[in-house]
């Protein structure tokens, strides 16, 4: 049995910021990351961030900075290739690491498992060449072309930014289609695509992917105001890949397992654990931060992680006199980031969470 003060499950942006914050206050931290590398999806983002102190930096540069921060703390231990399997009633966490079934007894747990991209139902959706947009982004980041010509389904921020990254890498983007009558993502991203001559077609969806053993094309259709297919509106798109950017779902299995009270809140991406203004769930000593507690962006995930890390360390008795002020600073920054018109959905979601939690949420 391994004893640790703060166990962080997930080494993406939220988990790394939680680790760094908890360690900076004096706590001993263990990060368990399922994959071989830390940093999560931040490491493959080439777009520049805006918003707070990272404004102007590219995602992978922010990730590299976080990794340096983590490496500078001797009291942070990192297990990569470590899949957490269970959280038990007596507080024991089990984990598959280096081929062994490990037992961990943490004083506090921060769940920062992130989210996974949604699938979409249409004939031919299982053909090789139908990718989550993030998968195409991962291939590009590794220096591999995912395809020659791509159809992007979904014009939210991920769909728009990944389309631009594909174009930058020499992949032809046939079109970006969006089921809603308007573009979901930031106009700045959409404008970049339009300047490259990539059409963004709204009120359109994919009817079918076709091909012999692999994607060779897609049929797309126009929808009316009631989201019904307009007869005769079918267009044929010749492409060898289809990227889906149709939202994400929180990877909240471990929250369910820990016995956290959950709620299905559409604005937050699905079933999420109810957290309070310290990021603590309804289970004492179990915190959740980042996409797992509500789908948002890396900037807010990092702040939530930091807030959770401070809260967990303070609950262990570290720097209790300074904690309240540090937590408040995180909350202020979160509030600022969530104040724009594009964050209306998130604000709604968090209001719903507060109502269900019966307490103030962050």
């Amino acid at each position: 049995m391994k004893d640790i003060e703060v166990l962080i499950i997930g080494g993406g942006p939220a988990g790394l910021c939680a680790a760094s914050a908890a360690a900076s206050m004096g706590a001993k931290v263990l990060i368990c990351e399922r994959n071989q590398d830390l940093g999560g999806q931040l490491m493959i983002q080439t777009g520049k961030f805006f918003g707070n102190k990272h404004a102007g930096m590219r995602g992978f540069q922010i990730g590299a900075e976080l990794l340096q921060e983590i490496a500078a703390y001797p009291q942070i231990e990192v297990w990569t290739g470590a899949t957490v399997l269970g959280i038990y009633e007596d507080g024991v966490v089990t984990c598959l690491y280096q081929g062994e079934h490990q037992k961990i007894k943490p004083a506090k747990i921060i769940i920062a498992t992130g989210a996974s991209e949604n699938f979409l139902s249409f004939p031919g959706n299982d053909l090789p060449g139908v990718y989550a947009a993030g998968a195409a982004e991962t291939l590009v980041h590794a220096g591999v072309k995912p395809a020659e010509r791509v159809l992007m389904v979904g014009a939210g921020n991920i769909g728009l930014t990944v389309s631009y990254q594909l174009k930058q890498s020499g992949v032809d983007v046939a079109a970006v289609i969006e089921v809603m009558p308007q573009i979901g993502g930031y106009l700045v991203h959409a404008s970049k695509l339009q300047r490259c001559g990539i059409p963004i077609k709204t009120s359109m969806t994919i009817a079918e992917a076709y091909g012999n053993g692999k994607v060779e094309g897609a049929k797309i259709v126009k929808l009316d105001e009631n989201r019904q297919v307009i007869p005769g509106s079918e267009e044929d798109i010749v492409c060898d890949a289809i990227c889906l950017s149709v939202g994400l779902s929180p990877l909240a299995e471990l929250c369910w397992l820990a016995g956290c009270k959950m709620a299905c809140i559409r604005e937050l991406g699905g079933c999420v654990p109810l957290v309070d203004q310290t990021m603590e769930t309804t289970v004492s000593g179990v915190y959740a931060a980042g996409d797992v507690s509500g789908l948002e962006e890396a900037t807010t995930a990092m702040l939530e992680g930091r807030l959770a890390g401070i809260s967990a360390a303070a609950a262990l008795g570290y720097k209790v006199d300074q904690a309240a002020e540090m937590q408040e600073a995180c909350r202020r920054e979160l509030k600022t980031l969530r104040s724009g018109p594009m964050s209306e959905k998130i604000r709604h979601g968090l209001e719903k969470m507060a109502a269900k939690r019966g307490a103030v949420v962050c």
Binding site: N35, V130, Y131, V140, K145
Partner: protein
Amino acid sequence: MRIEEHPILKFDRGKKITFYYNGEKIEGYENETVAEALHAAGIRRLGYSPELHRPRGLFCAIGNCSSCFMTVNGEPNVRVCVLKCAEGMQVEEQQSKGVVKI
């Protein structure tokens, strides 16, 4: 196909290595995942669904969805989207659910 020139990214691929896909020699790099190296070699079919035997490819690339299950060095159901290439590795398309040796 590999991207050689990129306006922002520099690719640190590491050492060149050789592994096998259904017995066929494939060149990859130590910092690439098996899925990435196979894509670079133009291979996008990674296996077949266990019941209807429909071809399967990469989907999530974060080790979550199970679409990229392959048999690696005799071990079935390995997520090749998060597995780094290694010298001499034997990677095979999987036809069924696979049997785990205990």
